[in-house]
Amino acid sequence: MTLPSPGTTQVPIGADLFTWPAEHPCLLGGKCPDCGIVTFPASKACPRCGHFGMDTKELARVGTVWTWTTQAFRPKHPYRAPGTDEDFEPFVLGYVELDGEVRVEAQLLVDPSDAHIGMEVELVIIPFCAGDGGDEVVTFAFAPRL
């Protein structure tokens, strides 16, 4: 979790993705009141049974890496992080299994040589790019559990 710089407003990269601002932020999923599956983010209808209307569910803040890869070159549009092809720093991303109920794709704040399946990680909210009118856009990621 990063505290905002004085005078800037932190805006989540998407609406209803995670609780923010919050001391212990968590991702906001959907839970089907009928068949019980959990989605991220919440959807209008259940992709498994078709039930219309999902309950909001706060997802677990810690989980384990189910799979991962590296992104070695700067993604093309619509990638919004600042920088250029030349100064791009490769990042790690993966799917994190949360509480045995859903796997969420996210950036993993880990060195590629340390990334592995099964590693324990924890949700963090990080500054991502500049937003409108001096706002700072923040997004979710997972970092190794300390």
Binding site: I37, P41, T69, K76, Y79, L93, E101, R103
Partner: protein, 388 residues
């Protein structure tokens, strides 16, 4: 299924400045018509695929049905097919159904595309996902391939060296194929040492977007001998989409319960429809968008069990002279992927192999059963079984 393939044609894959996608499509179609000994006027229907017109920023690319401008305005029904990387497999399956319905005797399935470098980018909106997904750099198809094989290697004990062997085979086979784009053999060391794209996949393990076309003439099986004394029979052509729990590209999340890939469903249906077993297959063409895809598709199609690939590939069993030759023309890795044409190239290759016309890359021992498989976003599998 009572359908035969009596003519095949191909325009070389690669980069062809000054030649349009539809020029290549018409070239391949004319070649297929000559091969079948028919004229465009004999053709009663066509299914054609070209993805370029529906990809972002290329709305000036021709739709497949514009081919009639070159081939002749005969008034036949010509259906445009757009089904991602499974476009050609879909066109063949639809064409076969049209013949099986009894409505038609002779038709054409054709695919072409002309993609510039890096054409396979997509916006999140196109995939029905919030813009935040692409803004974070996750609308990158190669990440999906890498994460799927990363997990597969963990679960079933596949080595990075085996990934390199799959690509080395593709380049070696491509060198034997005059229509291939990449015709220079590359060593496993060169492949492993090329630029990392998405761990564990390096640059030379991937196919690239390019240009090309392929076409087939299909007809009722009982009239095939009017056109050729060496028909290849299409015993099954199937198409399936993803079920809940299948691991697919552009997924912000996955359920913990896992369903088989649509390739598993399409392959099982194809073998059942054809009445042949995966162990009967003598030569196969699989979707090798990258090394890992070929390897995983071997198991998804039932050609081997999960985890068998490591020993099979290390022993050379998927080479042209091996027990189960795969991607004998170099596959996508050596031919690139003009999306609409890619699956049609697989049919072209299997027909040549089953006729014994594959030249330097001919599978020895008179192969009698061939198999094709394509896989595309957002979770489509198409498979076919062909026999002499």
């Amino acid at each position: 299924m009572e359908v035969a393939i009596v003519g095949v044609g191909i325009h070389p894959f690669g980069r062809h400045d000054g030649i349009s996608g539809s020029d290549m499509g018409a070239f391949a179609t004319r070649q297929a018509l000559r091969d079948a000994g028919v004229t465009w006027g004999d053709v009663q229907f066509a299914f054609g695929g070209s993805l370029a017109p529906i990809l972002p920023g290329h709305d000036d690319a021709p739709m497949a049905d514009t081919l009639v401008n070159d081939l002749g305005l005969t008034g036949i029904p010509f259906m445009n097919v757009a089904n991602g990387c499974a476009t050609a497999g879909s066109a063949v399956a639809l064409g076969a159904s049209a013949i099986e319905s009894g409505a038609f005797d002779v038709g054409v399935a054709v695919g072409f595309d002309k993609h510039p470098r890096g054409h396979f980018s997509a916006g999140a909106g196109m995939a029905g996902i919030g813009t935040w997904f692409g803004e974070q750099g996750f609308m990158v198809t190669t990440q999906f391939f890498a994460m799927k094989i990363q997990r597969y290697m963990h679960d079933f004990g596949v080595s990075r060296d085996t990934l390199a062997k799959v690509a080395a085979k593709a380049y070696r086979n491509g060198a034997l194929n005059p229509n291939a784009w990449r015709r220079k053999p590359l060593s496993e060391e060169e492949i492993l040492g090329s630029r990392m794209i998405n761990d564990p996949l390096t640059q030379y393990m991937f196919c690239s977007p390019d240009e090309g076309a392929a076409a087939i003439v299909m007809c009722r099986a009982d009239i095939a001998h009017r056109f050729t004394d060496r028909p290849v029979y299409l015993r099954a052509a199937t198409l399936r989409t993803r079920r809940f729990g299948s691991f697919e590209v552009y997924s912000p999340w996955l359920p913990v319960e896992r369903a088989p890939s649509p390739v598993v469903d399409a392959a099982a249906a194809a073998f059942e429809m054809a009445g042949v077993s995966p162990s009967d297959v003598d030569v196969a063409q699989l979707q090798d968008s990258e090394s890992g895809a070929e390897l995983m598709h071997m198991a998804e199609t039932g050609l081997c069990a999960d985890g068998d690939q490591e020993a099979m590939i290390q022993a050379g069993e998927t080479e042209i002279g091996g027990r189960l030759p795969i991607n004998t023309d170099g596959g996508l890795i050596a031919n690139g992927e003009p999306i609409g044409a890619s699956g049609m190239r697989q049919f072209h290759e299997i027909v040549l192999q089953l006729r014994g016309d594959a030249g330097e890359r001919q599978v020895p021992g008179n192969p009698r059963v061939g198999f094709t498989q394509v896989y595309g976003a957002p979770g489509i599998g198409a498979c076919a079984v062909l026999t002499t």
